[in-house]
């Protein structure tokens, strides 16, 4: 009897070992699977500079080396030329922007950026206040969230930008991007995405020229209602910045199509004033700073490279006036800004001659 009981105990113990070993193997397999699937998601993710690369590259910046963090849409990344800000004023700026970046996108980008950076000012694009949709378009959701490496922040950013019920597909990633297998190339499998060097600061120049006229409008104080969700996330951005003691400048970037935005910006001006944030409208005649609508725009909304040089000069002066940002040129830890400038000069020697060095 005792022998039978002993044998049963041995059997139970050996079964426990077999089961434990099985779960151990399964865990190892799950880890390998997770690694393989994550890499596949990386390879399949479209690596556009405007959105994904900008965010991924921010993680590669040295800690606490960004003084002016620019959040916003294509108007921001094509208009705020970080090379001009650095070359002429020594302002260490980074364009953390994405195409049609909404305020919920900006909020989560900011949350992620503040994990490694302590900017002295946040420059927030006003354009999102004109967006009336409650959620982000499909492609833009991918652009403005898939660069976030923290799975929790990324999931939150996705949930904020997609209708209820749609978020899961983006969070799992495969349902949304797996069809990209038709377009992947060898470079999609390598890091960094798009082969972008770490010293790049997010500026994307538009080398086109389209002739426009100055915006013609009646400068009224009439307001158009800002979308409720945009407003909610604008307030969250302001709250987050205030909690870290970082001032926010809400900037209306110049664009020939300004007349369509004016009344939204009137509402935005009031809201930012109520919250104690700064508001600067670079479309006002007194703020255009020599920008020529005939030669300085790439299309109906975006400044071209020449326009970005002119505008960024004006922006640099404004930032220095309002926030007394330090001149970091020659300071230890900021060499990447010099490298970025050198790269830009090499790429655009004609425009580099416009710099006042």
């Amino acid at each position: 009897m005792e022998r039978v009981e002993a044998a049963s105990r041995v059997n139970k113990a050996s079964r426990a070992v077999v089961i434990a070993a099985f779960w151990g193997r399964l865990a190892c397999f799950a880890l390998l699977c997770f690694a393989a699937l994550s890499y596949a998601v990386y390879a399949l993710t479209p690596k556009f500079e405007y959105g994904i690369c900008g965010m991924v590259n921010l993680y590669r910046q040295k800690r606490n080396t960004v003084d002016a963090l620019v959040l916003g849409t294509s108007l921001a990344y094509s208009g705020v030329n970080t090379n001009v800000l650095w070359a002429e004023y020594g302002i260490a700026a980074y364009d953390l922007c994405g195409a049609e970046q909404t305020y919920w996108n900006s909020y989560y980008y900011l949350a992620e950026a503040l994990k490694t950076q302590t900017p002295k000012v946040i420059l927030l694009d006003a354009k999102a206040s004109t967006y009336q949709q409650d959620y982000t378009k499909r492609g833009r959701t991918i652009l403005n969230s898939f660069g976030i490496l923290s799975p929790v922040t990324r999931a939150r950013a996705i949930a904020a930008g997609t209708p209820p019920g749609d978020a899961l597909g983006y969070i799992l990633a495969f349902p949304q991007i797996h069809a990209n297998y038709a377009t992947v190339s060898a470079s999609d499998f390598t890091f960094p995405p798009g082969g972008i060097p770490a010293h790049w600061k997010g500026f994307i120049g538009a080398d086109e020229r389209e002739e426009h006229r100055r915006p013609s409008l009646v400068w009224t104080d009439t307001e158009k209602k800002i979308n409720g969700r945009q407003l909610d996330y604008l307030n969250r951005i302001l709250d987050l910045a205030a909690s870290r003691g970082i001032p926010v400048m809400v900037a209306c970037f110049p664009n020939p199509d300004y007349a369509a935005d004016h009344m939204y910006y009137n509402a935005l001006r009031r809201v930012t004033a109520e919250r104690g944030a700064d508001f600067v409208n670079f479309n006002e005649p007194s703020m255009r700073g020599g920008l020529l609508y005939t030669t300085d725009f790439a299309d109906w909304q975006h400044m071209n490279i020449k326009g970005s040089v002119t505008f960024s000069r004006l922006l640099g002066e404004t930032l220095l006036d309002m926030y007394a940002l330090p001149d970091r040129r020659g300071a230890a830890g900021y060499a990447s800004y010099d490298e970025c400038l050198a790269m830009w000069i090499e790429e655009w020697p004609d425009y580099a001659s416009l710099l006042r060095l």
């Binding site: 193997r25 397999f29 390998l32 393989a36 699937l37 596949a40 899961l168 597909g169």
Partner: protein, 501 residues
């Protein structure tokens, strides 16, 4: 909740976790709760219907166990009556309204737009079989209604079968085995293979078969469409069964196989023994034998012997029953003329084969042909595939006129000119990269099935292969399914075809 959805996988994982956390004797309760929750997720009306049908058949079987004749018959009449009404009423009313003269705007027979509960066909046949077996004394009726309810509603099989027998499934549900890593892994592996077949192959073919079923297409393309439709059904149905059997395997429950590589059949009869095995078995057990030994069947046999002689006459009741059964099988698939013709076509083919079998036997003997030798077997496979291919014209079109028109087009205007032009025509429907993926996936599917057919049991071999081979193979399969599967953005993922039956 679709078996293809992420929600299903989460539901399955949660159920598996709860199931194994429960003591052995309570596990069936966990499965029952999960099954009812799964059913309820598809709509409370369906759940109510299924509960009523289960209640009626449970009572009918209990009465049958006590020797009562009438209550089981009433129970069967009730569940089959409800089944026929829900499944065929709208199709029949639409047809009748089309041929009957109408006085006003309102149709003569109102359309009710009934939505069939999930798994209607499957649980109706399964519970009816249970009542008949109880009546025949083949089983002891279950006293506990909840245990019977689990047998009827076991959630993996709800979507597309198999139609299980009480004797096989009930003991497994009532006293499931302990957790066994090998069974668990085999289940997960089978599910993965099923998803691959469904998402990568079946759904990739779908747009082509839809485009090919058009009178505007040349005959060769229609023929290719019909052939690929058969492959699509094969991948869809066998994939679905693998997912279901794999899911059941996670609970340690070994469900009967419903699909056994039918394209390797050397006769149509064998084909139907390998295709939807449980449906064929159900019709054989509960319709074929009763029909052949019924008064009508005996009378047909007697008349046949007079007309056709002793041997053929003896086969006549079986042949006639086969035609009737296949008509039902066709109509079971859908309430349409095409489905009826599909069934009738197979029924007549098999009926003729039964009647002519003595003549074929004599012919084979005369020619000295051995059925089991390789050339006749391959000849049989090609012949069977040709017959099955012809049937697809009824399966991938909506009306008989369309089916016959496409058959005509295949013969009269084949239209194949050059491979370059054919390639361009194919690329116009599905882009070349998709064709490449399809051809590679089909090659993998065929290779695996071929090896299985030769008795290699690829799944078992993979399970016992060294880790450095097994893990990369499984990860590759997971990646291939997730990356090349037709789901999510940019694809129109179709439900499993057999779910709609």
């Amino acid at each position: 909740m679709s078996v293809l959805s992420f929600e299903f996988l989460v539901f399955l994982a949660a159920t598996v976790a709860v199931y194994y956390a429960l003591p052995l004797r309570f596990r069936w309760i966990g499965l029952l709760a999960a099954s009812l929750a799964f059913y309820a997720a598809a709509g409370w009306q369906g759940l109510a219907y299924m509960l009523c049908a289960a209640g009626v058949t449970w009572l009918g079987a209990i009465a049958a166990g006590k020797g009562n004749k009438w209550l089981p018959a009433a129970a069967l009449t009730l569940v089959f009556g409800a089944f026929v009404f829900v499944k065929y009423y709208d199709a029949a009313s639409a047809w009748l309204n089309g041929i009957l003269p109408s006085s006003g705007k309102e149709p003569l027979i109102p359309e009710l737009r009934l939505i069939a509960p999930l798994g209607l066909s499957y649980f109706t046949l399964q519970s009816a079989g249970y009542v008949v077996d109880a009546r025949r004394g083949k089983l002891q009726p279950e006293r506990n209604p909840l245990r019977y309810l689990l047998f009827v509603s076991f959630f993996p099989q709800m979507t597309q079968g198999p139609i299980s027998e009480w004797k096989r499934l009930a003991p497994l549900l009532a006293s499931p085995p302990r957790f066994e890593p090998i069974t668990f892994v085999a289940g997960a592996q089978l599910m993965l293979w099923g998803y691959f077949k469904k998402l990568v192959i079946a759904d990739r073919i779908a747009p082509f078969t839809i485009a090919a079923a058009s009178a505007d297409q040349p005959g060769w393309l229609v023929l290719l469409g019909a052939a690929l439709f058969a492959v699509r059904l094969y991948a869809d149905f066998s994939g679905g069964m693998d997912v279901i059997r794999g899911a059941a395997g996670l609970f340690g429950i070994d469900m009967a196989d419903n699909f056994n590589r039918p394209f390797f059949s050397s006769s149509v009869a064998e084909y139907w023994r390998r295709w939807h095995i449980s449906l064929g078995a159900w019709f054989r057990a509960y319709m074929f034998f009763p029909l052949t030994v019924s008064r009508a069947g005996v009378a047909v046999g007697r008349a046949g012997r007079k007309l056709l002689g002793k041997k053929a006459g003896r086969a006549l009741p079986g042949a006639a029953a086969t035609v009737v059964i296949f008509l039902f099988v066709g109509l079971w698939h859908a309430a349409s003329w095409n489905a009826a013709l599909y069934g009738l076509y197979f029924g007549l083919t098999l009926g003729c084969a039964t009647l002519l079998e003595p003549a074929f036997k004599r012919l084979r003997r005369g020619l000295g042909v051995h059925v089991e030798s390789r050339p006749p077997r391959w000849f049989g496979i090609v012949r069977t595939l040709s017959i099955v291919l012809t049937a697809q014209y009824f399966a991938f079109t909506a009306t008989p006129a369309e089916a016959f028109s496409l058959m005509g087009a295949t013969v009269t205007r084949f239209g194949f000119t050059t491979f370059t032009q054919a390639g361009a025509a194919l690329a116009a429907i599905i882009n070349p990269m998709e064709w490449i993926i399809l051809v590679i996936s089909l090659a993998i599917l065929f290779a695996v099935d071929f090896m299985d057919e030769k008795g290699a049991d690829v799944s078992k071999r993979l399970a016992s292969a060294p880790v450095f081979f097994r893990w990369p193979a499984l990860i590759a399969l997971i990646l291939a399914t997730l990356v090349f599967g037709c789901y999510g953005e940019g694809f129109d993922m179709a439900a499993f075809i057999y779910t709609q039956f």
